[in-house]
Amino acid sequence: MSINPNAKSLPRASLDVKSLVRGIQIGDRSMLSQAITLVESRKIADRAIARKLIESLPKNKNTSFRIGITGNPGVGKSTLIERLGNIYIQSGHRIAVLAFDPSSPDSGGSILGDKTRMEKLSKENNAFIRPSSSSGQLGGIGNSTREIIHLCESAGYDRIIIETVGVGQNEIAINNFVDCFVLMALPGAGDEIQGIKRGILESADILAVNKADGEQINLAKIALGFLKNVLHLFSHEDGWLVPAISISARENKGVDHLLELIEKCCRHRMHGGYLDFNRKKQNEIAFDKNWKSHIANELIQEKHFHELNKSLKEKIVKGDITPEKALDIFIQEFREIIKTPR
């Protein structure tokens, strides 16, 4: 281990809103990426700058499509995005891929390895791939996702692909960010398909059974049959009939068909005015969801509550008080604060 004797500490971020806005609008990759860092930052001081940045950007004109891709680990999401992205780029689109990896709740760190699986796409000039750790947030998808989408759209990316790992309830949250939600499944009957929770099936716009290749072709057919059986029970309120198809991302089979379906779904919604309506509805949900986590974040960064939280936790671990009692104390303290006249 040898350290450079002349090494300097990391410079502090020193970008002003004006140059960020200009950089994003001329499509400067490095500016976009630093703007994303800013809106993702958990520092309260950064929040204000981030908000100013977002407000300084022109309003989105709904000319982009936002596509969500979800499925269990190992279902082949990244391989599919690699293929989809390359087709999009060939037809002249600019792609932003936002990949959300689960972070380990204990260490807070995570491996963000998506580019190892999107090798070709990651080299493309018209592709911007940004994996983020979801930093332990419920929903498997960051609070700042909406703002990041906005930044990417402002930088001229017109197809935004959002990849999330489907674990437990998280898949549904993606529905709050995208125009079209593709749920991926693996070949197989019964258990594996039924392992996908009903609520998720209901909110999907397209179902894709991946890995329909080699020895698995017959299993894929079974899965497809099963999904089609379940699907006729669902219909979306905008009249979109949910299709189920089988694909092989690895062998690049059926991917162009899937892409057509995605485009068809988005266009169907755009023409019916539903795309715009849906995005506004999503904004409402975003506010409702975000104020809770933001208030909690704000509170815990305040010295008094930070210490109270810490001492309560210590007492719980020692066995001095029950978690319920600790919660009572914490809430009581909070009530005192909000009752104080300003």
Binding site: S2, N4, S9, R29, S110, L112, G113, T116, F128, I129
Partner: protein, 323 residues
């Protein structure tokens, strides 16, 4: 004669070895044989897992390896290393290929390659035989493999990374606890977790070490981006910039550092991101350290560098003036 015959210790070890090996063989058989297992990435992940465990044990001193974590050399080793100018070699190789393509019978080469393609596609005939015919006509290895790729596609390695191994092995190690504390400190001051891209650039396929480091850094609390194999410096820079990392950890085991690191720095500079710091790990001759430092490389971690300590060191350096 078997002097250890009947020894309880040896008998126990051999029977342990037998049953552990049996487990691995069973895992492979359950996957449907070795070919399937390789496709699923099973052997690779097992190797990486055991490498991470070994690393963790060496770092915490629970396992002793003389020369690595005990009785290290006091005086710096000064090995004379032959210096190869990679870019010069590359240029002369390219020149040779051009010369070769000029001197051979290109019509015959195209016919031979087309024969090879048809053979691969129809699955009739012997691919190796056709490849040898093409090679004898001076078709390049690249041309031959590209022809086969056009039919079969390219093998894409299943690139999963283990997690939690380093943490599990090292949970009680003071150096690990300190490094973890530093990452949370970093998160508090900077508003996000420390983020590092572990990159493999150039013709260097040795990624086991890179993966052990990636996995361990994630356990310590870093957000770790892992680049694909064989990246060009420009591609590494693009990835680092898009992900807005604090550091790029360049893993170099094939002596490419003297060309690849300067190119990487240039690419970063072209995008105004010279603030992204570079760390080099792997096999780098001591004599090259000063050269790398003069370019602005922050640290060089050679073989035997304990991971937790290395992480603490760069975090410490990064936050130097923050407290």
């Amino acid at each position: 004669m078997d002097p250890f015959g009947g020894s309880i210790v040896i008998e126990k070890r051999t029977s342990q070895l037998l049953s552990d090996a049996g487990k691995l063989i069973k895992e492979i058989e359950n996957a449907g044989g070795m070919t399937k297992a390789i496709e699923l990435g099973i052997p690779k992940i097992r190797i990486e897992e055991s490498a991470a465990i070994k690393q963790a044990r060496l770092d915490s001193g629970r396992e002793i390896l003389v020369g690595v974590n005990a009785f290290q050399r006091k005086e710096a080793e000064t090995l004379e290393v032959r210096q190869v100018d990679n870019s010069k070699v590359r240029k002369s190789q390219l020149k040779q290929i051009i010369l070769l393509k000029k001197s051979r019978d290109n019509t015959k080469v195209s016919i031979a390659l087309e024969d090879l393609r048809i053979c691969a596609q129809s699955k009739e005939g012997n691919i190796l035989e056709k490849a040898i015919i093409a090679a004898e006509l001076r078709a390049t290895l690249g041309e031959i493999s590209n022809t086969l790729e056009s039919v079969f596609g390219r093998y894409e390695a299943n690139n999963s990374v283990i997690s939690g191994v380093y943490k599990k092995e090292n949970a009680e190690d003071p150096a690990f606890i300190k490094a973890k504390h530093m990452t949370s400190l970093f998160l508090q001051t900077e508003g996000r977790a420390p983020r590092i891209l572990i990159a493999k650039m150039g013709q260097d396929g040795h990624d086991r070490g890179a993966k052990v480091v990636a996995s361990s850094f994630a356990d310590i609390g870093f957000d770790v981006d892992l680049g694909p194999l064989f990246q060009t410096p420009e591609e590494t820079a693009k990835q680092a910039i898009e992900n807005d990392v604090h550091w790029i950890g360049v893993s170099s085991l094939a002596a490419g550092h003297k060309t690849l690191v300067p190119e990487l720095l240039k690419s970063l500079k072209n995008s105004n991101r010279s603030d992204i710091q570079i760390i080099v790990g792997g096999v780098v001759p001591k004599a090259d350290y000063d050269f790398l430092f003069s370019l602005g490389v922050v640290a060089v971690f050679g073989p035997g560098s304990p991971i937790s300590e290395s992480a603490s060191k760069i975090l410490d350096l990064a936050l130097n003036d923050r407290f």
